[in-house]
Every structure is written in C-alpha cells, then in structure tokens.
C-alpha cells in the first residue's frame, strides 16, 4: 500500500517537476513568470495526440510510437514557447516588468480558447502506445505506465542537468541568469540564449503534457491549468529560479498530495487545496523557497 502510494507520488511529482522546470528556467533569466506555460504543455499533449491520430502508421506502435509522440510534443511545445517569447514578451521586455506578465496571461487565454474553438471542447481519449501491465516491485504491484512516466521524466531531468552544467550554451544560460548585461559584454547574444531557454523549458513542458495525457488517458483544452498552477507552486516551494529547487518542489508536492489522498478521510477532495495551502505557507515562512538563495549582491 505504502509502496504503491510512494510510486504514485513519484509519478505525479515527476510531472510537476518537469513543468516546474519550465517556470524556473525562464524566471531564472528574466525574473518573469511565464503564465502561458500551462497552455504550452497542453499544446504539447495535443500535438502528440494529433500525431497518433493522423499519422499512426508512420510511427508504428509500441516504443517507437511512444518516442515519436514525445519528440512531436516536445518540439511543438518548445517552438510555441519560442514564438510566444519572440512576439508577446520580447517587445515588452524594456517597458516594465509587469507588461510581459500581463501579455503572458493574454497568451494563455488565446491559446486555451484557440484549442477550445478549433479542436475540441470535450475530453479526447489519449493513446497509450505501450502495453500497460502490472509489475511486482518491492512487494508492491505497480503499473508499468508509472515506471515509463517516471523513467522518462528522470531521463529528461538528467539531460537538462548535463545541458546546463556541461555545455557552452548551458553555461551561457547560467551566466545570463547571473548577470544578463555582463553576458552581453562576453559576446553572448542574450536574445538567443533567452530563445533557447524558452525552447528547453517549453519542450520539458511538452513532455510533461504527453506524460499527463498518458497518465490520465484523456486530454482537454484546459488540462494545463491545474498542473500548471501546481507546478508553479512547486517551483516557488523549491525556490523559483533554482533548477534543483524545481525538481525538489515538484516531488514534495506530489508526495503531499498523494499522502493526503491516502491518509486523510475524503482526502481526494482536498488535494488541490493542499497544493495552494503549501504555496501560501511557503510564501509566509520562507519567501525565497527551500533552496532559493538571496540574489547575490551585484556591486
């Protein structure tokens, strides 16, 4: 029972973490909350569904179809995020800090309504290209789907870690997060780094969208809202702008929710309340989050 609960928590937490990374990467550089991120992940899920619906033959079935859905969902979400940044945020960057934020809320409404009007107002069933069975693990019977979700999420986090720590572009991202105008003095094109950041963050969101679809078996135009808001909570909980914090916050939030469902009477009804209570408590007690650092003094 507990093992199953923990796996549920890890699965949910992994999805939150992936989404939270998208918020935190963007915030780290621009100190801006990309409120359209929840729609970006929704579009990732719809793209993967579109691929599975309209071109099922081209990608076969099983793992290759799964991989194709991931690639399509991630690429589409990344690209949407890049386009949104280019046209809805960048022109406003110099105006004020509030302007891009409001623009982001506008983009979120436009994207959500776009899908609502042109694609579907209803839940659409989401394919699961891998055969789902029960596997016995540490004495618990667990769903193989959960292992796929967890494995994919952890793999992507590993890739992100490698990218940010070890590649030239990843280091440039961190340099921009430290001091964007000095990064320009190093010959770093900050606009390009920002675009890459939006692509990476969007792609992780797209992956989370696909995982979300597979986990629940159906997707809807407004699917991004709740996980987006919770992942944002997770990012704040971990310390927004901090990559490890986003991962930690996602898993903690997943754990809290699942435990609440399992151990509090009628807990399932309270699960959403828990996330946002956590947000409020964290903001009151530790506004910079668990791993959040006070920004280094820039003398």
């Amino acid at each position: 029972m507990l093992a199953q609960q923990i796996l549920n928590a890890l699965t949910l937490g992994a999805i939150y973490s992936l989404i939270a990374l998208g918020y935190t990467l963007v915030y780290g550089i621009l100190a801006m909350i990309n409120f359209a991120h929840s729609e970006v992940l929704m579009l990732g899920a719809f793209t993967a569904l579109g691929l599975a619906t309209f071109a099922p033959a081209a990608f076969g079935s099983g793992p290759s179809a799964l991989a194709a859905m991931f690639v399509a969902g991630m690429a589409a979400a990344g690209l949407v995020n890049v386009v949104v940044e280019r046209f809805a945020y960048r022109p406003l960057r110099a105006v004020s800090r509030l302007a891009p934020l409001i623009s982001a809320i506008g983009v979120s409404i436009v994207l959500q309504n776009g899908v609502f009007l042109w694609i579907s107002t209803q839940s659409l069933s989401f394919p699961r290209p891998v055969v789902i069975g029960q596997i016995s693990l540490f004495g618990a019977s667990v769903s193989s789907l959960q292992l796929v979700i967890l494995g994919a999420a952890l793999g992507l986090m590993g890739l992100l870690h490698f990218f940010v720590e070890s590649t030239k572009m990843g280091k440039a991202m961190r340099a921009c997060a430290d001091d964007i105008s000095t990064a320009g003095l190093m010959g770093i094109d900050a606009d390009r780094v920002i675009a890459v950041t939006f692509f990476v963050g969007g792609a992780l969101g797209g992956a989370a969208g696909v995982l979300y679809g597979m986990n629940y078996g159906s997707i809807k135009y407004n699917l991004g809202f709740l996980p987006g808001a919770k992942a944002f909570t997770a990012a704040v909980l971990g310390g927004i702008g901090n990559i490890r914090g986003a991962v930690l916050g996602g898993f903690i939030l997943g754990l809290l929710e699942v435990l609440a469902c399992g151990y509090i009477p009628d807990g399932a009804q309270w699960r959403d309340v828990i996330a946002f209570t956590v947000l409020i408590v964290v903001l009151l007690v530790r506004p910079s989050g668990l791993l959040g650092e006070k920004m280094a003094e820039k003398v």
């Binding site: 280091k171 961190r174 003095l185 010959g187 770093i188 094109d189």
Partner: protein, 242 residues
C-alpha cells in the same frame, strides 16, 4: 597629415543623457591609437562610466559617433561590438557569482570557435597565478582583488584588440592595485591597446602615455600623461597635491 598612427577608437562629439534627464556627456571627442595606454580621469559624475558604456554598446548616445577600426558602432548591440575585439571590464568587476572561475573564463571566450583554449587559460593563469589555484571556486566567493583579476582574465580570454578597464583599482588594497597596474603594463606590451578609466589619477597617469581629463561631461584637458602629472592645476584637482 601627422605621422601619428590612425585612431583605433574614436569618439566624435558624443552626447549622452543618463537616467531621465541628466546630461552626462556634452560633446566628448577623443581618440585611442593602436598600442597606446590612454587614461581617462575625472571626478565622480564626470561621465567616465557613461562613456565606457556607450563605447561598449550598453548605452546609446543621444548624438555623435563612435568608430572602432573605421567602423561606426551605431546601433550595434554589446555582443557584436565585443566580437569586433573591443572588451570592457566593467565597473564593479561584474563577474558571474554562481559560475566557477573556470566557467567565468570560459564565458570570456564564448565568441571563440576554437575547441582548444589551453593556451589562453595558461596565459591567464600565468598572469594571475591565484586564479589557477581557485579554478573550481565560485566567482562570488573570491575576494575583491581576485574578482578584479578574474574580470581581467575573463576579458583577455577573447584576445581583445582594445581592452577598456573601468575603475580597476576601486576598493582594492594598495598591494593588489600594484599588481593590477603591473598586469596592465604587461598586457599592453603584448600588443593590447588599453583605455583606462580611473579615479586613482596618479596611478592612471603613471601607467598611461596620454590622458584625457573629463569634467562635467566634457573633455577639459587632453595631454601627455607625463605632462599632466606635472600640471599644477591637475595636481591640485585630481592628485590631491599642491
């Protein structure tokens, strides 16, 4: 007309507004020729840092022209100007605090396509041995003097043609200031042209061949550094000597 080398960097009647309405520069013209060390001295608020920011592309001049090696810099963003060989070590050093020393240096070489930069690293560690000992430390944990060395080393990683230093001695112990000025001399001997902004006028004038004195946004004096060191008015106003 003269036998002087052509200007590497020239400012022609540059005007700038700082903040909303402070006229920081009111028609500054100056030249830096290849191979020189030129000092720019002046009091707080004279417009020295504004001028450096304009040259580096961080601020746009309201009027006037900045040319580097014959190319007009108007409208170019900082990263493009830097790639032409004009590096600024900004006031307050501005190293990346959450990047290690090695990563800071690597960012300095961001625009270089070579895979193997070991010669550049060796050069920087030769000039600043202490950085070699601190390779893996985060930039933010270095002392002020070490940060200044890192900021200079980082700029040198790009092999600039013209190195601009904004207040390199600010807040540093005299021993460290000696070291910094010694390195400025060395770098210049290696062929790098230097434009140096300093409040520490005595040091700057000793290190430079020529100097400009900036007063309330205008060039008040342009002269050989050695002559300025002896100039009674300059001695009184900037060197604290009678």
């Amino acid at each position: 007309m003269s036998e002087k080398a052509p200007a590497m960097l020239s400012l022609d009647d540059v005007h700038a507004i700082y903040g909303k309405k402070i006229r920081a520069l009111k028609g500054v013209s100056l030249e830096v020729r290849a191979g020189e060390v030129v000092a720019l001295i002046g009091n707080n608020g004279a417009g020295k840092t504004t001028m450096m920011k304009i040259i580096a592309g961080l601020l746009k001049p309201e009027k006037g022209r900045v040319t580097f090696q014959g190319r007009d810099l108007a409208g170019l963003p900082p990263h493009r100007i830097m790639r032409m060989g004009l590096s600024l070590v900004p006031e307050g050093r501005r190293i990346f605090p959450r990047l290690s020393v090695m990563e800071n240096l690597e960012m300095g070489a961001f625009c270089r396509s070579e895979k193997d930069l070991s010669r550049e690293y060796d050069h920087v560690f030769h000039l600043f041995p202490v950085l070699g000992k601190r390779r893996c430390q985060l930039g933010g944990t270095l002392s002020g003097g070490e940060q200044q060395m890192l900021a200079m080393g980082r700029a040198l990683m790009a092999a600039p043609k013209l190195l601009m230093l904004d207040e390199p001695s600010m807040g540093l112990a005299p021993v460290v200031v000696d070291k910094i000025f010694e390195i400025i001399g060395l770098i210049n001997k290696e062929g790098v042209t230097v434009l140096l902004v300093e409040q520490n006028a005595k040091r700057a004038l000793r290190a430079a061949a020529r100097a400009y004195v900036l007063e309330t946004g205008m060039v008040a004096v342009a002269q050989d550094a050695a002559t300025l060191l002896k100039d009674p008015a300059v001695r009184k106003a900037y060197l604290g000597l009678d």
